[in-house]
Subunit: 352 residues, 4 copies
């Protein structure tokens, strides 16, 4: 036990917090020594998530009670709400500069303070931290993440769209001005907060789009797609809510550039991801299903020809709780702490 690294989870009473506990409980290289949950402070985690009652885990404490210097954690996962995050991490880093951080909020994902202010409606409160933050899409920024102290874990929608699109944009293989990303997510993406529209009775047996024309994840897409393409890229993006717990699927409509066919696009993706442990490109013409990645850290990608000449349809799926949030956070931790990248997150998906 003495050789295990110590980790803490801030916001352990939410769903991404629970998913982190699930993945870390059997991770052979780390030990969970801190769980915070402000509204439930003092309770055993098993009272908040009964699936953990049989296990030996620390009680929930309030963040204010934590003495960061004394705790001297190796790494902290921060699954707090937007804005709170900036304040907490500023404090943490000041008091325990040796503690690494994987932040699951959106607070450190945007490099440009102006973009942040525009999408979030206020100035960023921890700009110096923002400066050192690394965007945590491992397949793209692995080298930077290895050396980072603070990693901004990407959003679920953005991970699902970026994994197929970034290599195609980098290869200049598709028209950057004609991309449509039609995305569909399970309900866990909305977290555990109380909203009428998230009641079972309001969600089940129905389907709808939301945030049409304006969704904060767009800013992340813009940033990464523009970097990949070497020019400003703005995609058409519409999220929808599927009556299921986990899973996210993006149907992406693209036009090949300079004669590139759907098969060419497929070949590019197949090559780029050939050796990636968590991205699986299906045979050409096949499309993936969210159920086949449920609970796993995998992304599956399929490419199909559209019947309109020159156009292709790319479909990508992941589990929004795992590769779309907590699984990717553990993947980032593995890279940051020097473990084998798949440690603790290489379980196959659970279907049915």
């Amino acid at each position: 036990m003495s050789t295990k690294k110590t980790v803490g989870i801030l916001g352990a009473s939410g769903y991404t917090g629970a998913e982190l506990v699930r993945l870390l409980l059997r991770h052979p290289k780390v030990e969970i020594v801190l769980l915070t949950g402000d509204r439930r402070a003092g309770l055993p985690i098993g009272d908040v998530f009964p699936q953990f009652a049989p296990y030996d885990l620390p009680r929930l404490v309030s963040i204010d009670e934590v003495d960061w210097a004394k705790a001297a954690l190796d790494l902290v996962f921060c699954a707090l709400p937007h804005a709170t995050t900036q304040k907490v991490l500023k404090d943490l880093v000041a008091k325990a500069p040796g503690t690494k951080v994987v932040d699951l909020s959106a607070d450190f994902r945007l490099e440009d303070p102006a973009a942040y202010a525009k999408w979030y409606g206020h100035e960023h409160h921890a700009l110096e931290l923002q400066n050192e933050a690394v965007y945590g899409l491992v397949e793209v920024y692995r080298r930077e993440i290895k050396k980072a102290r603070l990693v901004a874990n990407p959003g679920c929608y953005t991970t699902c769209a970026q994994l197929p699109l970034i290599p195609l944009l980098k290869a200049r293989a598709i028209e950057p001005d004609e991309i449509v990303v039609d995305a569909k997510s399970g309900v866990t993406g909305a977290g555990r907060s109380l909203k009428e529209e998230m009641l079972f009775t309001e969600v089940s047996e129905g389907f709808h789009a939301y945030g049409v024309g304006h969704h904060r994840h767009m800013s992340e897409l813009d940033q990464e797609f523009s970097k990949a393409a070497g020019k400003e890229v703005i995609v058409s993006f519409t999220p929808h809510l599927v009556p299921m717990n986990r899973g996210l699927l993006s149907t992406i409509y693209v036009r090949g550039r300079r004669g590139k066919t759907a098969q060419d696009l497929h070949e590019i993706l197949s090559k780029v991801y050939e050796k990636e442990p968590f991205v699986h490109v299906l045979p050409f013409g096949k499309t993936p299903q969210t159920r086949h990645v449920r609970g796993s850290n995998m992304t599956h990608i399929g490419v199909v020809s559209d019947r309109i000449a020159g156009r292709a349809i790319v479909v990508s799926v992941l589990d929004n709780m795992t590769k779309g949030a907590s699984g990717q956070a553990v993947q980032n931790m593995n890279v940051m702490l020097g473990f084998a990248e798949g440690t603790g997150i290489d379980q196959p998906a659970m279907f049915p």
Copy 2:
């Protein structure tokens, strides 16, 4: 009773058949006098659909037992599988020329025999009937339907895409070559036939696209969109399966033409559908949900500006079993038999 019109339902042991029974049981102007169901012939309909056990309805018979001339029905709903339909209706019309027909299969929807042969893999077997068939999208072809003997009830995907797009194409308000229709359907759209991929365990808690790049409903879209636009129109269309029973939603990405904005498109649709009983256009900027049309014959349409200048997102919903199949079939019957159009199908939706 004697003044009621007599109707029959061919294929009453399937889901669209059951939906017809549900709607017609309380229709004040007609009486169900014939129910066929070949594999279940001889059984009371209540054995096949227990919700009908308490009601007085004819037993299921085999189609071969029916003497069409003697039955002399006023109208027949045909909910048989593709191909069987052509044979049965040819025979029916020959023996009972006074019986009107609403056909819910795809067999008489395509005007062009070559298109039919291409999409269905064989020659059409009842071309003379095809010639007189009227495409049953009431909001577009009401006048023709009034006089028709044979109406081809449109498909669910096509109804949901055509109602918003046809007026926009007719008004030359959108670019016809840049339309993307991303469609999502509940599972009843697949009918009651036994397929592994339709088991509860294979469908629930997951989401996927199917028929990507090639789906037979495309031929119907091509036909009607091209007529509306006055030139060949081919849209990008991808259907998806949602883990719910009823409901269909289309997210439609368009670019305005000649400076037309999203608000202009909204205005066009609002005017066209102002007096239509079964199409409701939401206020500009709002988008509809399938749950709010469940079990009703309504279509709800919303229009939103995309953040990309010049582009708009149109979202339309209907219940694939009602306006997408049996409700629209009754609407067609009402027009053909001279009843008030909403008779028997004006119930509000059931939510939650």
Copy 3:
């Protein structure tokens, strides 16, 4: 229109309120002239339940705004929370003594003030009204309901258990001390209020019992079963939550008395309910499913022999929103206002 009776719905922004609107919108004998919804006062009902946006309905008002004397409604449906109800109805009846009331809360169901105080933790605040209230299980109290001014609409669990058990207890056909009622309900039974345990993510893909050993509906069961049996009867009752919107099923374990077999029990129920429009007894040995009564006012009951000699299993189902709440309320109204009992609520179930 002038000949229609005028009705109001108090608490129209909840689910039972919405179900009343659904059923009454097409009821040929009444017109909805008042809708209250305190937190949403001022809004069109279509903003709160978009399925009603296309229809002509009054705006939501606050109860305090209503002048009961001036409104002089023929009947009011009260779908308010427990306790508020007593206050509001006391006021209403004082100011508009000619207005009849169907109350959907539990406030007037218990005849014994001591029982009320015990289960609800405080004195009853409208005892004189309680005295005149009639328990609204139409199949049992039809005669009393005809003359009532105030009808206490039964709970969903109680209706589902009472319809099969009251006739058996009255006939002294089962042991009153060995009854187990294992009940399972859809989620709409919990209403639209915000509770973490009612989020989609907490309910879907799981099953659990709740209120084990203590549930307020028990008091209603005790009262009616004891009256039917002519002695005190206390049953073992456990409710469970099913991940579905609508439907309630009771599995009832009984022991026949004085040699009565399961078939005898079936015969008793079949005779009692032979002419009831809303209770359907299945052939002996068959059991019902909730989906076949969805959206309808029907109760289906099945009786099966247990393999243990002398014991039987009775299964009953209804839609908790319809026969378990708003449908039964309309049935009560029909009886109170002298309409044919099935008016407006005789639609068959919607399946699938």
Copy 4:
């Protein structure tokens, strides 16, 4: 790798087969070297279960192709349909007597050939094997399983009822003649075979009992309960189908014997299971939910006082695919091959 034990899975194209693959893929002590699937022989397992496409696994072969002697497997999991199993295992054991077997079918669970013939309608075809088979409820028969060559893995319903009831019957703490087991299962319990009643459209948004009064799992309950009680015990048992994939809950109604209260029963269970890794007894008065054991090998048990004096309600849950089938099978393997009992199956549950 060379030190790993070799295992095979017969019937790997079914759901229990897939669950075995999921659990064994990351089991550190064994290697999957054989997968059979007669109808899909020749295909990669990834074609049948796409979640396994990224992993290195043997292709599906037909059982007839297997040379058991040459394969010389350490252990085989048999997930074949009833009856086929007897034939296959007879052959296997004859040719490879050193290969151990965990059989997931019902074929070797009944010790009494007469009981088998009665419940399954024909003579047992491998009586000599039946004689050596050990009933694989680890918590009860751990010692026997350690030495067994053939273990009959218990059914899901029976595991869920036996874990709480066997200790209570052994302790003579409850009346053996008044037990009611009301059980509710997710849909995966029905397997992957094509049946109309298992279509998504037939299962979702509804609830029903099935096999009322006669279900084959009863024979297993009778056998084990009678052994535990030392006298013939026949319980009242009714299974129901819940619209969810995984999870099984039993609500068990019992009467204490010789003054035993609910709290006494709770104490008995708490003691018996204090050190069991896969049985968790909740604090007195709390009841478990299926979602909190999803995907894990845990059983959670709660005990509550009924309001009827002397009676108690016991609620137990497990995941029918894991502790109710494949997880328990791996637990049996671990015992048989001398591994730590929790190896490969100690992952916490996945919720939400």
